[in-house]
Symmetry: C2
Subunit: 265 residues, 2 copies
């Protein structure tokens, strides 16, 4: 059988997350219905990870197996024609039969978008969290940097998804202000400028890691928002990490600010 | 009575335009309901112009009269609290009793957003027209420049809105590629760079004039899209202008790419 890798972009607003569910509209079900309609075969579309309800993606990766003979460009165009316009196939590529979007993933980049302007922008309201207080991006960045490296992140893991280990390695983390064009950038802001340079009301939290625990980026975002508005002191992230206790960290930030930006293999 | 000027931003997707209608959700009705709820008075909120169904604004201006004693910052916050999040009051200012948002307007800036990337971006799908062909922005800009100055624009006016005169003066017009941050920019791109500099899939048509005929920017956009895809030759805009015949111009482009950017008084 052929193995087709897809790169996907979606607006998660109207979806109950990635994973197929009996009574809700999900991304997996939408993709699988389109693949089944195209190929006439039962489809199983597997993603790099299951994004939650309301979470967006500009570079999700998925794959499925098929016996159909359409070339990849035809598959890409046909799937887009068969799906609603809030989910798009950016690329379709035939890959080695061993490729598996979940298990082959070596790392992912997530971006959490915040907006601390006085009045929320209607065009951005589905894609950024409105923070009702001026945020100190410099303090947020300094705390975020304490997350770099390998740690037990169980303080930032929502219960209910037991894993063998809650140790993960964060390879890039930054908080900075930037313009709206950053929302669409598939590269991480490796050379993050000091936040004071920009007076944009948009703040970005970027986290790259070899893997993420359940709700990990949203728990980190919620904690750093506490830092940004002055509710938590310098040094708090190190203490929260050491505690290995979810109750020590901040709230899980809402899903609509979160983007899965890229998956590396 | 006090006279309150509002600067408004809205996502027009879910509205049947500005003007109050019996059976449809409109911006005027939404604003008036909020003002009535705040002041306890019957409200008449007048805008600089009536944007059509589906058209967005980042700098619409409106005004209303009231005897209420709230300060302007309270009015701004209260109206935002009383309205859905796809319409926002950016500013509320007390102005001279003679100010009228419609009649005092000296000029407006509209922006039409197009996207000619292969795959439409789900996040941009409500705010830019997907052009399914590569667009020649340089040719579009050259034709657009023929619109500069005072002309009878009846070739770009949808019938059904008789006016005393169809002569208007365009003071700025440009077509250029730029990043998504341009969507939010309230300034016109006076120093427009040659389009070839940028490889962004986003194209912008900007038009400033002392007034606009019904559907004028959308008719100009539809005609320039014909130019951009090679359907109309150089010089066509001058001929269309001279003809004073709506049938000579291109189709009225869809509303979701259009933004009212700014109103000058």
């Amino acid at each position: 059988m052929r193995n087709i890798k897809l790169v996907l972009s979606y607006d998660g607003t109207e979806y109950s997350g990635w994973e197929r569910q009996r009574d809700f509209r999900t991304l997996q079900q939408t993709l699988e219905a389109a693949v089944e309609s195209l190929t006439g075969e039962a489809a199983n579309v597997v993603a790099s990870g299951r994004t939650d309800a309301g979470v967006h993606a500009i570079g999700q990766v998925a794959n499925f197996r098929t016996n159909c003979r359409h070339d990849c460009e035809t598959i890409r165009r046909a799937l887009n024609a068969l799906m609603p316009d809030d989910v798009r196939v950016l690329e379709a590529i035939e890959v080695n039969e061993l490729f598996h979007a979940t298990y082959a993933a070596k790392g992912k980049l997530y971006r959490y978008v915040m907006y601390d302007g006085l009045v929320m922008d209607p065009v951005l309201r589905r894609y950024a969290l409105h923070c009702h207080w001026p945020m100190n991006a410099t303090a947020m960045h300094a705390e975020a940097r304490e997350l770099m490296g390998s740690h037990d992140f169980s303080s930032f893991e929502t219960a209910g998804a037991p894993r063998e280990s809650s140790v993960r390695t964060i390879t890039h983390v930054a908080v900075f202000r930037d313009g709206p064009e950053r929302i669409w950038n598939r590269q991480s802001a490796i050379s993050h400028q000091p936040s004071a340079i920009s007076d944009s009301p948009l703040l970005f939290l970027e986290v790259s890691a070899n893997g993420f625990l359940y709700n990990m980026v949203r728990a980190i975002a919620g904690t750093l928002i506490d830092v940004g508005r002055g509710y938590r002191p310098a040094g708090c992230i190190s203490e929260i990490l050491k505690a290995c206790d979810r109750r020590r960290a901040g709230p899980t930030a809402p899903p609509h600010g979160l983007f899965l930006v890229r998956v590396d293999y």
